[in-house]
């Protein structure tokens, strides 16, 4: 009997190990195959040209993805600027201010946002956000562009950042709050000077998870960002009008063109995928670095 149990243990150990290895293998395979398909593009166009050439005109063998990098970068930046304060506000409200009964209503609502398919966000953006943005009177503004896309994306990353930050804030020991309040600090002083700084590493990972989601979002972006392959530029002397420009994201570039692309064009789209992959890896590892350096860790 003992022996049977031990054998079962060993069997379980190896099947779980297999599960872990399988997921690692899948990541590896995606990396390898995407890279293999992208290889002709890297060979014939060259990484430098791919990254710095401003023109993407596959018909004329011009394959620069700078415009898409700018598009993805700006829309992600926009969504973070709009979404992070909102999400943090939600998280602080939920964890520190809301009574249990209010929390029981608000939290599921925010979590529900995460379950809405992104194509529905795209529809919402087209019929609600775009017409509003179109009201801004700037020459050439159609409503489709970075601002609309940033707003839609901000809503999309809201639940991720809110839930993870809420969790981080609630994990701050009660003793910290009591220590601060017992010093005569007000609730707000306690939250802003003790609770939030203590939850910093969790909040950073929340924002980075949101960033990753924003960089990877495809269909909703295609529907509201305008998809023009241009490097976004300000339409007037006000530099903020850059956000009214149409743009295309790295993800959108692949999704829009992959169905009819062949040869080098197809390979260039895979190369776009590789670069997206690398960008997200850079974001994640810089976040991990920030987290390891950021919080004062318990060591004794």
């Amino acid at each position: 009997m003992q022996r049977r149990k031990r054998q079962f243990d060993t069997a379980m150990k190896y099947s779980l190990l297999f599960a872990a290895l399988a997921s690692m293998l899948i990541v590896l395979m995606i990396g390898v195959f995407t890279f293999r398909e992208a290889l002709p593009a890297f060979r014939h166009i060259g990484l430098e040209k791919l990254l710095t050439e401003p023109v993407w005109r596959p018909g004329q063998e011009q394959y620069g993805i700078l415009a898409m990098i700018a598009g993805s970068g700006l829309v992600t930046l926009g969504s973070v600027i709009l979404g992070v304060p909102l999400a943090l506000g939600c998280a602080i409200f939920l964890s520190e201010i809301a009574r249990p009964r209010v929390r029981a209503v608000v939290k599921p609502c925010i979590e529900l946002l995460a379950g809405i398919p992104s194509v529905v966000y795209g529809l919402f953006g087209m019929v609600v956000i775009v017409p509003i943005v179109r009201q801004i009177e700037v020459p050439g503004n159609t409503g489709f562009g970075l601002l609309s896309a940033s707003i839609v994306l901000a809503i999309m990353i809201l639940p991720t950042i809110t839930s993870v930050s809420d969790h981080a804030i609630r994990s701050v020991p009660k003793e910290y709050r009591e220590g601060s309040l017992a010093m005569g600090a007000t609730k707000w002083e306690t939250v802003s000077r003790v609770v939030i700084p203590s939850a910093r590493s969790g909040i950073i990972s929340a924002v980075v998870l949101g960033l990753g989601r924003a960089l990877g979002e495809t269909i909703a972006m295609i529907m509201v960002i305008g998809n023009s392959v241009i490097i976004p530029a300000a339409a007037s002397s006000n530099p903020l009008t850059i956000f009214l420009s149409r743009a295309r994201t790295l993800t959108g570039n692949i999704a829009v063109e992959i169905n009819y692309a062949t040869g080098l064009h197809q390979s260039a789209l895979f190369a776009t995928g590789v670069i997206l992959f690398l960008l997200i890896m850079i974001v994640n590892s810089s976040a991990r670095y920030l987290m390891s350096r950021g919080g004062m860790r318990k060591s004794g």
Binding site: G179, L181, A182, M183, R193, G300
Partner: protein, 256 residues
């Protein structure tokens, strides 16, 4: 008692929702002394000490009858921020913030409006000297407070409380999470601090109460599980000739 009294409770009764935690507590805490609150687990010691700076306000549904006076002022009629500046607190588990040693001690003065860096530095040094921690940390003020040992962390928490110049320091089992050597240091520190401050300490350690305190309050639950003050007096008297039979039973180790 003829000594000056800094805090008084008058018929103080505390409820958590429908549960009565403390029943009709009336006692006087003399100034520049150490008052120990003793009693078996669940007798309301912590509830009582947390009443002096209104920490029980944080508990939803808590309610009080009677009152507590600090410097002859009703603590429920004054601003809780002012009260907590006057009546500081040190907790059972050392709870320094995950900030530097300096920032921990400077926390109170900063929230109460001190911005000047050199003033803050002076306060930090003085508080750390008063809490007997200065010599151990003076070169590491920028290090995380969490890198200190448990005993050092607790003295840091004492320094943090001293930095806002309170009159009273409440200590809720300040040494129960510490080893004997660190405990001894805290007790020595309490002896020293009582010259300038009034200390109220909750302890479940009878020897500690006998060693450090000048006055002792003995709490015990009644049939409804509410904490009652059984006896209050000079520690020397409580421990040698208690008036109440229950006090005698408790301190001689017959129960609890």
């Amino acid at each position: 008692m003829t000594e000056d009294v800094v805090m008084k409770t008058r018929g103080y009764t505390l409820f958590y929702g429908g549960f009565k935690a403390l029943n009709d507590i009336t006692m006087d805490i003399p100034v520049n002394s150490i008052t120990a609150i003793i009693g078996p687990s669940g007798c309301g010691k912590s509830s009582l000490i947390r009443s002096f700076n209104r920490m029980n306000d944080l508990i939803v549904d808590s309610r009080v009858e009677g009152t507590i006076l600090v410097d002859d002022e009703d603590i429920y009629s004054k601003d809780v921020v002012e009260l907590r500046k006057k009546v500081g607190m040190v907790f059972q588990r050392p709870n320094p913030f995950p900030k530097s040693i300096f920032d921990n001690v400077a926390y109170g003065p900063r929230i109460h409006g001190t911005r000047d860096r050199s003033k803050l530095a002076a306060i930090v040094e003085k508080s750390l000297r008063d809490s007997a921690l200065w010599d151990e940390v003076k070169d590491d003020l920028d290090k995380s407070a969490l890198s200190l040992s448990g005993g050092q962390q607790q003295r840091l928490c004492i320094a943090r409380a001293l930095a806002v110049e309170p009159e009273v320091i409440l200590m809720d089992e300040p040494a129960s999470a510490l080893d004997p050597v660190a405990t001894l240091k805290i007790e020595e520190l309490m002896e020293k601090l009582k010259r300038k401050y009034t200390i109220v300490v909750v302890t479940h350690n009878m020897q500690q109460a006998a060693r450090v305190s000048d006055y002792t309050a003995f709490l015990l639950t009644d049939v409804d599980r509410a904490g009652n003050l059984i006896e209050f007096g000079r520690t020397s008297e409580i421990f040698t000739k208690p008036v109440d039979k229950r006090t005698e039973d408790y301190i001689s180790g017959r129960f609890g």
